[in-house]
Symmetry: C2
C-alpha cells in the first residue's frame, strides 16, 4: 500500500505496473516528429462522427479499446477507469466510455489530467483496491478552440505565445501483475497562482505549479535532477519551459540537462506553425503513452519524472477577469531492474 | 486497506472515520425544513462577491474553513482535498480552494460528486496514503441556471418535472483517527443511459443509475434494504424517486420502507415552489453534512446508504441531441458500535 514519503509524496510499495499503453492522434500530430510512435492516426478530424465533441469522445474510446486489445483484455477485467478531459462537464470521457460498463471516476485537472488519472490508478492498484485500472484522457483541437476561444470558421489570429491543442488521446493499464515499467512515486500538486491573466500564455501560467511540485518531490525523496534520465513536463511550451528552468534555478535546482516538454515534442515547430508548442490533455497523454513508455520498455529510459501541468480556468473565469491558477502532478516511473 | 467484496464493492478494513462535517447554504435552503441543521445560512446570493460564480467558490471555501474550524485543524494537517462542482472546468472548486495550499484532486461526477469525493477520500485514508482528507462539493442556483438553462433575468418558465439547483455546499473530514461514524463500504457506479433526453427531467435520467448501483451493492454484500436504517439517494426528486422504486421492484428489491431522497428533503415543496424537488451537487452534500451525519453522531441512525446520483451531460451534448447518461456512487456509513 502507498507509503507517505516526506510531506507531499507517496511511494508505491508493491509493483504498480504499466501493463500496456496506447495512443491515438489526429493528422497534424501524426505528421509530427513522434508520428511513427502512435498506435493510430486519424486523417479525418471528425473520426466519422457528426460533431467535434463526438469525435473527441470517439478518440477516447479508441484509445481505451486499443489498450484493451494490446493487453488482450476485456473491459470486464478492469476494476475502475479514471478519465477526464477539457470539455465542459467532461463529456468526451462520459459519452466516449459509457458503453464499456467499467466503474467510472471522472477526474478534472485540466491538462494535468493524465498525471492525475495515472496517480489515482496507481494508488488504487497499490492499495489492493483494484487489480487493474485504466487511466485515460483526451483533447481535440477543434472542440477546444470553439469552446475556449473562437469558432474555427472565424479564423482568429493566434498570439505567438499561444499553444496548439493536440487532437490526441493516451491510455494505459495499471496492473498488480504484468508490466515492463512501474510507478514508483506520486506527488500530488497544490494549486499555484502567480497572477497570470493572459489566456494566450498558458505555459507561463502553469510553470510555477510545475516548479513547486518538482521542488516538493526532490525534497521529499532527497533526490536531485541528475538521478533521473528524463524530466518530462506536460505542455509548458517554449515560454513555460524557459520560465520553469528559471524558477527552479532560483532555488538552486538545475534541470536543464535532462528536461523535455511534451508540448515541444509533439510538433515540428519550424514547419507546423503551432507557435509556442502543443497543449491539451491529449498532448502529454499521447507522448507518455507512445514514445516514452516504449523507451522505458526497451530500457532506453530507466527512471523518469512525468509532470503534467494544468491551467484551472474556464471561459467564464477569464471573462470575469480572474487569473489562471495552475496545478502539476508528478509521477515517477521506472523500468523493472 | 480497502478489500474487494463481490464485483463492485470495496470494504474499508480500518476505521475510516468521519471526523467532522459542515454545511453552508443560501436563504431558500435555510428557510426549508432542514434549515436549523445547517452551520451557516447566507441571505445574500452573492455572498458579497461580484459574480455568482465567485459566490459559489466562496460557498465552497466557507464549507472547508467551517469544517476545519469545527475539527480544530489547520489546512496543513489535511493531506488531500477531493473537490468538484457543476461549473465548466470546476471553477468553484479551483478558485474557492486555491489559497488553502492543500494537494488538490478535482473530481467530476455531476451531482454524484459528494459520494465520489467521499469515496476517494475514504480509500486514501483506509489505504494509509493519507491520515486526513477533505471531501467537498457545491452548487449555486444562479450560476447553474445561467450556465445550463437561461439567464435569470429572462424569467424562463420551469417545467413541472424540473428540479431546483440548491445553493449549498457540504464538506467533511475523513480521518484515520477520530470520529463518531465511519465509512464501511464504497460502491463505484457504472454509467447508465436508458435514453432520456429531457433536460427538465434529470430525476428520470439518473434513477436507472441509482437502481443499478444499489443492486450491485446488495448483491456484493449479500444484504437487503431491511439491513439499513436509511437509504438516501442524492437528488432524484419526485419523478426520479418513483422510477427508482419501480425499477428496483422489478428486480424484487423493495426500498419503499426506508428510502428518502435529498432532493425531496431540502425544500418544503408545498410552499417553496421548487417543482419536482432540489438538485445540484450541493443538495446531497449539504443534507449529508448536516442532519444525516448529526443523526449518526447521536445514534438516531446507525447504518445508512448514501447514493448520490449525477447526470453526465453538458449544454453542448444536449444541444447536439444526445441523451443524458447517469451515474450513482454508494457509500455505506455506520456509527461506531
Amino acid at each position: 500500500m502507498p507509503k507517505k514519503i516526506g510531506r507531499y509524496t507517496l511511494k508505491m510499495t508493491k509493483k504498480t505496473n504499466i501493463e500496456e499503453f496506447c495512443s491515438v492522434v489526429g493528422k497534424k500530430e501524426g505528421d509530427g516528429p513522434i508520428g511513427k510512435h502512435f498506435d493510430k492516426i486519424f486523417e479525418d478530424s471528425y473520426l466519422g462522427q457528426s460533431s467535434w465533441e463526438k469525435a473527441e469522445a470517439q478518440l477516447q474510446l479508441e484509445a481505451v479499446q486499443g489498450v484493451l486489445k494490446k493487453a488482450n483484455l476485456d473491459s470486464s477485467q478492469i476494476n475502475y477507469i479514471f478519465a477526464g478531459d477539457l470539455l465542459n462537464q467532461c463529456i468526451s470521457s462520459t459519452f466516449g466510455l459509457m458503453d464499456l460498463g467499467i466503474p467510472f471516476l471522472g477526474q478534472y485537472g485540466a491538462c494535468s489530467t493524465m498525471a492525475q488519472t495515472l496517480a489515482m490508478a496507481a494508488i488504487m492498484v497499490d492499495s489492493g483496491a483494484a487489480q487493474r485500472c485504466i487511466a485515460v484522457t483526451s483533447s481535440h483541437f477543434c472542440s477546444a478552440e470553439r469552446q475556449f476561444r473562437f469558432p474555427l470558421d472565424y479564423g482568429g489570429q493566434r498570439s505567438p505565445s499561444a499553444q496548439w491543442t493536440a487532437t490526441a488521446s493516451g491510455s494505459l493499464i495499471l496492473s498488480s501483475e504484468n508490466g515492463k515499467s512501474h510507478v514508483e512515486h506520486v506527488t500530488i500538486g497544490r494549486i499555484t497562482d502567480l497572477g497570470i491573466k493572459d489566456q494566450a500564455n498558458m505555459g507561463a501560467a502553469m510553470a510555477p505549479a510545475a516548479a513547486r511540485t518538482l521542488k516538493d518531490f526532490f525534497e521529499d525523496t532527497s533526490t536531485s535532477p541528475a538521478d533521473y534520465d528524463l524530466i518530462l513536463t506536460g505542455d509548458l511550451g517554449e515560454i513555460g519551459k524557459k520560465l520553469l528552468l528559471e524558477l527552479l534555478q532560483k532555488d538552486g535546482i538545475d534541470i536543464s540537462g535532462n528536461h523535455d516538454d511534451c508540448g515541444l515534442m509533439i510538433y515540428d515547430r519550424n514547419n507546423q506553425d503551432v507557435h509556442a508548442g502543443g497543449s491539451g490533455c491529449g498532448c502529454s497523454a499521447s507522448i507518455l503513452c507512445s514514445v516514452i513508455l516504449k523507451k522505458l520498455k526497451n530500457k532506453e529510459l530507466r527512471n523518469i519524472l512525468f509532470v503534467a501541468t494544468g491551467a484551472l480556468m474556464s471561459l467564464t473565469s477569464a471573462q470575469q477577469g480572474e487569473s489562471i491558477p495552475g496545478i502539476a502532478h508528478l509521477i515517477n516511473i521506472r523500468e523493472f531492474s
